[in-house]
Amino acid sequence: MSEASRLRAEFPLLAANPGLHYLDSAATAQIHRTALDAVAHHETHRRANVLRGSHRLAEAADQAFDSARRSVARFLNARSADEVIFTSGATAALNLVAQAFGATLQPGDRVLISLAEHHSNFVPWQMLRDRAGIALDILPVGVNGELDLAALPQLVTDRTRLIAVTQCSNVTGAWTDVAAIVAAARAVDARVLLDGAQAVQHGPQDVQALGVDFYAFSGHKAFAPNGIGVLWGRAGVLASMPPFLGGGGMIDEVTAEKSSWAEPPRRFEAGTPPIAQAVGLAAALDWMMALDWATIHAREARLCQQMIDGLQRIPGLRLLGPEASVRRAPIVSFDIAGLHPHDVCQVLDHHGLALRGGHHCAQPLLAALGVDTCSRASLALYNDEADVAACLDAVAAAVATLT
């Protein structure tokens, strides 16, 4: 059995659907059985509310939750588990920064994002701009959708307080040159937020080596449950931020007149957190940390190249995304002249392929690329040559069916 089919067998949905070619992992990666089992085990043996435990179930739930936080810290190579905040997803994590870090900004301060951002790292900053009187700058993209780093010097100013960019585009797969962003930010003492939503399914991360201040991701794109996400933040930066949401667990003391706040990470975790989901996330990340990523990356890159080469041969098909020289995640988006992605993906579905067509929550980027919508094939560690071959055949079939 190939390595990919061995891995595939560990994913309940893929095991239950042998004919399925799942090429939509950028939207949601399939859940690994260890994560699903961890959720069921937790709910069956340790379900209780956390943080106020005075019985053994609550004590066990507390420990499982703390241990999940330490797993995330290891996955991200964070200095401390206290830098790990559990949220309901990447979007909530990004909004947390926009609101809580945003509350520390003054009118006239500037935030820099890029045109390649997912709506979840775009709209919160527009909302902050409109609410708080900050200025929002937007790094342009080149013809292939890559960040135009040459524009950094003009856009990073003394008033720039934060640069918030994606680590990897969910449309083009292009990896951001994070070092260049961090260097530009450091020169003006700005903070850096990295949207890691698309990165985490391609292996453990190292926030210290990346040199950023915030890192956000979602469990459902990391082979884990959905309804959970993470914001990692540098201890000092988190400590300087007021809370985001109010409620149980994030307070130091509440009186009728006023309230004071707990230390991070609890300050940013109002209410009962997603406990079973955190336990499931930890199981998935622990499993990922034990994998041989060099081999997986080599396979992902090979399959991605096969996909690109094959699609390029289809008349009328335009590939979106970076030149061959740019490092990219195995995400391949394309537009076929005269065909709507929803029709294309519908025919692909008919052939057993799961691809996504639409604006991929990246309307500003697609507008810059000159399209309204596109089709996207995204690959993960459980995909293999057969998936790519089936996709190429089915795209050809779709062109035939639809024209």
């Binding site: 709507h340 929803h342 519908q346």
Partner: protein, 144 residues
């Protein structure tokens, strides 16, 4: 997987390609822009009324084949009808998509949308031009 995909029968593709009514009116009694934020489909629909009936119709449609076919069908068939006839046809199309209700005898072309019944996420695309036309008629102040 081997059964053929009857969603994209020739009738749909031909109706979409014909793009009946595509264009713009010099002077419209009412118009509406509707979009489906989830898929990016967009319909810009204009009508001119005369005596409570549609005298002219024009649309600009960005969308999938189902959306384009529906817009084109309206371009071909809407002239001469009033708002209540359009409302009736819209309901008939909804019912046909939702529960495979019978095709109304006066709109036999709607049969081409029957296979979309199996794909609920496509119902909105199909209905978008009808909704846009209704909105344009309302804007024109056509009394029901």
């Amino acid at each position: 997987m081997s059964e053929s995909l009857d969603l994209y029968q020739d009738a749909i593709k031909q109706m979409a390609a014909a793009a009946h009514g595509h264009g713009q009116l010099q002077s419209a009694s009412g118009e509406a822009k509707l979009n489906n934020p989830l898929c990016g489909d967009r319909v810009y629909m204009q009508v001119a009324l005369a005596g409570g009936r549609i005298a002219a119709i024009a649309h600009q449609t960005k969308g999938c084949l189902l959306c384009k076919a529906a817009a084109s069908l309206l371009g071909a068939r809407a002239v001469g009808l009033d708002i209540s006839a359009i409302a009736g046809t819209t309901s008939a199309l909804e019912a046909l998509l939702r529960e495979q209700a019978p095709v109304p005898p006066d709109w036999p072309e709607l049969a081409m949308f029957l296979p979309a019944h199996a794909y609920p996420s496509r119902h909105k695309c199909t209905l978008l031009p009808f909704r846009a036309l209704q909105a344009a008629l309302r804007q024109a102040g056509a009394a029901q």
